[in-house]
């Protein structure tokens, strides 16, 4: 397999994640789409790492995974707080910061 096949797959997954972020109304599904996009970037990093035969990409992927875990922890805590205060997870109704 050429490495570019993996890169195209990573691009497809990233695009699906983009569609999800744009059309999703549910804030939890939106979070999951961001996770999908982060992981498709990881796939691209690992593919390049394999193509150029350097392991440094793996270290970056490890750091990205850590950041994603931290983001999920804080984000879900915020979702719970928002749901407790406003009784909704519809992002169209959580738009008070929108100008």
């Amino acid at each position: 397999m050429p490495v570019s096949a993996f890169l195209v797959l990573a691009g497809v997954l990233f695009a699906i994640g983009t569609v999800g972020v744009l059309i999703s109304r549910n804030i939890i599904v939106l979070f999951m789409c961001v996770e999908l996009m982060l992981n498709s970037a990881n796939l691209a990093l690992i593919a390049f790492s394999r193509a150029l035969n350097v392991v440094d990409g793996h270290a970056f992927v490890f750091l990205v995974l850590t950041v994603a875990a931290a983001e999920v922890a804080v984000g879900l805590a915020m979702v719970i707080t928002i749901f407790r205060n406003r009784e909704t997870i519809n992002i169209d109704r959580i738009s008070i910061l929108k100008w």
Binding site: S4, A15, G20, L36, H58
Partner: protein
């Protein structure tokens, strides 16, 4: 078709299928489970690319911890499919969103396909045989604890901040609510006392 290509195509189809179903189903629990399927297929691809350690980390950390956390929150909020999500957006707005994503995808594919330089030949050519130790725990660990030691230590700080932040954000209102509830109960007690007297 070689075994290598078969593994790639099956995993790729499963990953894309899981991702597509995740954004189309209405039920959040099903959505989480489809994302799980997609991540499992991506872990297979990681291992195929020689990233043994990271494939395992993806399964353990994402599938085992993060997606279970998502499931916990979905069940904690007791959401049902299609509940409280408002009207679907009009077709023209929906179409424009798909168009944006399609343009983004085309752009990425053009960049990948249009590569011609020396580095690019490594990308568009077939993969060579992999070195035995490539992507092993030993190699990645050595790299993380030598070259990338400061970023690695900083992730520890980041995780600490995330833990403290999550607790603070999720807890404060709980205290507030408990105070309100206690106040309501005491008021209720007062009024019932008055009624008795």
């Amino acid at each position: 078709m070689t075994l290598d290509a078969a593994i790639f195509f099956i995993s790729a189809v499963v990953a894309v299928f899981g991702a597509t179903m995740m954004i189309t189903v209405r039920n959040p629990v099903a959505s989480v489970l489809y994302l799980l399927v997609s991540f499992a297929a991506q872990a297979v691809l990681f291992i195929q690319l020689g990233a043994l350690f990271l494939g395992m980390v993806l399964i353990i950390v994402y599938v085992g911890a993060i997606l279970v956390l998502f499931l916990f929150v979905v069940m904690l909020l007791n959401l049902r499919g299609g509940e409280d999500l408002g009207q679907p957006s009009p077709p023209i707005s929906r179409f424009s969103k798909f168009l944006i994503a399609a343009l983004l995808l085309m752009e990425m594919v053009f960049v990948i396909r249009g590569s011609t330089g020396a580095t690019d030949r490594a990308v568009t050519g077939m993969m060579g045989p992999v070195v035995d130790t490539f992507g092993s725990v030993e190699q990645v660990g050595m790299l993380l604890f030598t070259t990338y030691m400061y970023p690695f230590e900083l992730t520890g700080v980041l995780l600490l901040v995330a833990i403290v932040g999550a607790v603070v954000i999720a807890k404060r209102e709980a205290d507030h609510e408990a105070a309100q509830r206690a106040q309501a109960i005491s008021e209720q007690g007062d009024s019932s006392n008055k009624e008795v007297s």
